[in-house]
């Protein structure tokens, strides 16, 4: 359950500033590393700034969600949610400049299928990359498998992710059972679902427990329909006799709604500019990242084939 899970202990942060701090630190670390590596042609302007990283992050997150939605067989919502959470957590402590997001996002989706017991064979998985030839798909698969161990390590081996979908179901059941004032809780479902999908793209998962997100979704949907659910909160949930808890709850919900409102998809021109920078960084400093990719290779290990084929496939091949 969430209350004694690793998610609750290690991956819930106090506020948005805390999260931003971590990302900033990761960015700084990566910048320093590249600057110190002493390669020719290195200059500050060539490296990604924090807001540029953000643009790329959101872009690739959207691509991953589209990939998962177009997945055959149909991916359950919890698998998609887990994949997004992995993506977020990974880039909390690592910078986009060091590990290119296009492989990380596929590794996240692949790992999420395994963890959530959505059984897809690896060939089936890369078969969903429709733009690639079978040989190209093979290459992608090899890269995914290379990054998998590194991904798990950066997630600190905390692989279980609690998504808000089941709490939402639970709350709906509870509403139907204990709150007859509300005639048709089912009508709230569609809006709540949309709220949750949007919330998954924001940092809400890193700041609030999934049950709170679900509750916010339902309350939001109810207020949209003009229904008040305050009595439910007070009576049925028995939000502790002190008023403090209730106001804190409202506070969190307000913060969550702000997060959702603030979220917007990056503009196309920004994305293209940032991507160009990213590609150049990866091309020039790829030897730095090369060694690190093999999370499991020991020093004496000889690779099966030379890794020259990395830069051949581009983002356009994904969808």
């Amino acid at each position: 359950m969430f209350h004694n899970s690793s998610q609750g202990k290690y991956w819930i942060f106090l506020n948005e500033d805390d999260v931003e701090q971590k990302r900033y630190k990761a960015n700084q670390k990566s910048r320093n590393k590249i600057l110190e590596s002493g390669k020719p042609g290195v200059s500050e302007s060539k490296l990604l700034e924090r807001h540029e990283e953000d643009v790329l992050f959101r872009h690739y997150e959207k691509r991953m969600v589209d990939f998962c939605n177009a997945f055959k067989p149909a991916m359950p919502k919890s698998v998609v949610g887990t994949a997004i959470m992995y993506f977020k957590r990974f880039y909390l402590n690592n910078s986009i400049m060091e590990h290119h997001p296009r492989i990380i996002m596929l590794s996240c989706a692949y790992l999420s299928c395994k963890v959530d017991e959505f059984n897809v064979s690896s060939t089936q998985f890369v078969g969903n990359l429709l733009q690639e030839t079978p040989a190209g798909q093979e290459r992608v698969l090899e890269q995914i498998l290379e990054y998998e161990l590194l991904l798990i390590q950066q997630l600190k081996f905390h692989l279980v992710v609690h998504n808000p979908y089941r709490p939402m179901e639970g709350l709906l059941i509870d509403l139907k059972t204990r709150y007859p004032t509300l005639e048709n809780p089912e009508s709230l479902r569609k809006n709540a679902d949309d709220f949750l999908t949007q919330a998954a793209m924001t940092d809400a998962g890193l700041l609030f427990p999934p049950s709170q997100i679900a509750l916010t979704a339902i309350l939001n949907s109810a207020s949209r329909a003009g229904l008040s659910m305050e009595s439910y909160l007070i009576e049925c949930l028995r939000l502790k006799e002190d008023k403090d808890a209730l106001s804190k709850m409202y506070d969190s919900m307000r913060r969550m709604k702000t997060l959702l409102k603030k979220y917007e998809l990056p503009k196309a021109e920004e994305v293209i500019a940032c991507k160009k920078k990213l590609e150049r960084i990866h091309a020039e400093f790829s030897s730095l990242s090369n060694k690190r990719k093999r999370g499991y290779e020991e020093d004496g290990h000889v690779a099966k084939e030379p890794r020259l084929t990395e830069e051949e496939w581009t983002d356009e091949d994904l969808l």
Binding site: N4, P167, I173, T177, S211
Partner: protein, 311 residues
């Protein structure tokens, strides 16, 4: 054993699985027939390594690998000379050093490394510790004799039991025969009609059977327990010390869920939750699933973490 053929006649081993292999001091194998063959012609050389051999040196092979047999022979000879025991040494370290010395000697002799030096070493040791060796030999033989005595006793006991069983069986057979004979005699001589005689005979046979059964079940009184303690002997054992400890008090597990209390699994039906969950189909209930399980899990997930976390 079949994959190892005799190096001389090659095939005979496969054709004749009962054929034994013999090993000699150089560590090579020969089947029985070939041994005979070799010494009929008077020449005493090993086929593979050409070392001169005597017929008496051949022993039946016990292990699959002939080199192991060779080593075993060498070890026996070495141990006859180096026969110190662990209490002959003042410290464990010295005993281990002695054992290592032993192993080196055996290894050298087995693999034909430095044979002369090793043999010289052995002779020197023999000369120096002659009386010690003699003493230890005597000790060893005494122990072995005791062991053999015990074995002999056991064997004798077994033999006796076997004989007694045989005798019992014979007696029973005789009794049955006598019974039959008596019946025949009676049929001949007595005046009573045949059916009554047959009935009497049957009764007698039945009685005999029960007698035999009883005899089989009669336990012979023994005077010894199986551990060797006499039955009449009182054995006083020391009681183990009694340890008084504080009794364990059970405290139920308390888990902080940061949320409203969740109803128990069994109460869900009564409270009406189950009406809003998809009912379990017969295929599902066969495996032990009930709709209450899914409902309970959803409610737990919904309530866990609802209240603000304490930081």
């Amino acid at each position: 054993m079949d994959d190892q053929g005799c190096p001389r006649c090659k095939t005979t081993k496969y054709r004749n699985p009962s054929l034994k292999l013999m090993v000699n001091v150089c560590g090579h194998t020969l089947c029985e027939n070939c041994v005979e063959m070799l010494f009929v012609r008077g020449s005493g050389n090993c086929v593979q390594c050409d070392t001169p051999l005597r017929k008496s040196n051949f022993r039946v092979q016990l292990f699959e690998d002939p080199t192991v047999d060779k080593e075993v022979e060498i070890r026996k000879k070495v141990l006859k000379i180096y026969n110190k025991r662990d209490f002959d040494f003042p410290s464990l370290r010295e005993y281990n050093d002695y054992l290592e010395l032993l192993e080196e000697i055996v290894y050298n002799l087995t693999n034909n490394i430095d044979v002369e030096n090793t043999k010289l070493q052995m002779e020197q040791y023999q000369r120096e510790n002659r009386d010690l060796i003699q003493k230890n030999k005597v000790k060893l033989t005494r122990e072995q004799e005791e062991l053999e005595e015990l074995l002999l006793l056991e064997q004798q006991g077994n033999e006796q039991r076997r004989l007694e069983l045989l005798q019992d069986e014979q007696r029973q057979l005789q009794a049955k025969r006598k019974n039959k004979q008596a019946l025949l005699d009676e049929l001949e001589q007595s005046q009573l009609p045949a059916t009554i005689l047959l009935a009497q005979h049957k009764v007698r046979a039945a009685k005999l059977e029960t007698q035999i059964e009883q005899q089989k079940q009669a336990v012979k009184p023994t005077s010894l327990f199986s551990t060797g303690i006499n039955m009449r002997q009182t054995v006083t054992l020391q009681l183990p010390p009694k340890i008084e400890e504080v009794l364990f008090q059970y405290k139920a597990l308390q888990v902080e869920t940061y949320g409203p209390p969740v109803p128990e699994l069994e109460q869900l039906g009564r409270l009406g939750y189950l009406n809003h969950v998809r009912a379990a189909m017969p295929q599902d209930t066969a495996g032990g699933y009930s709709s209450a399980l899914a409902c309970h899990r959803a409610i737990q997930d919904a309530f866990s973490g609802l209240f603000p976390l304490k930081r």
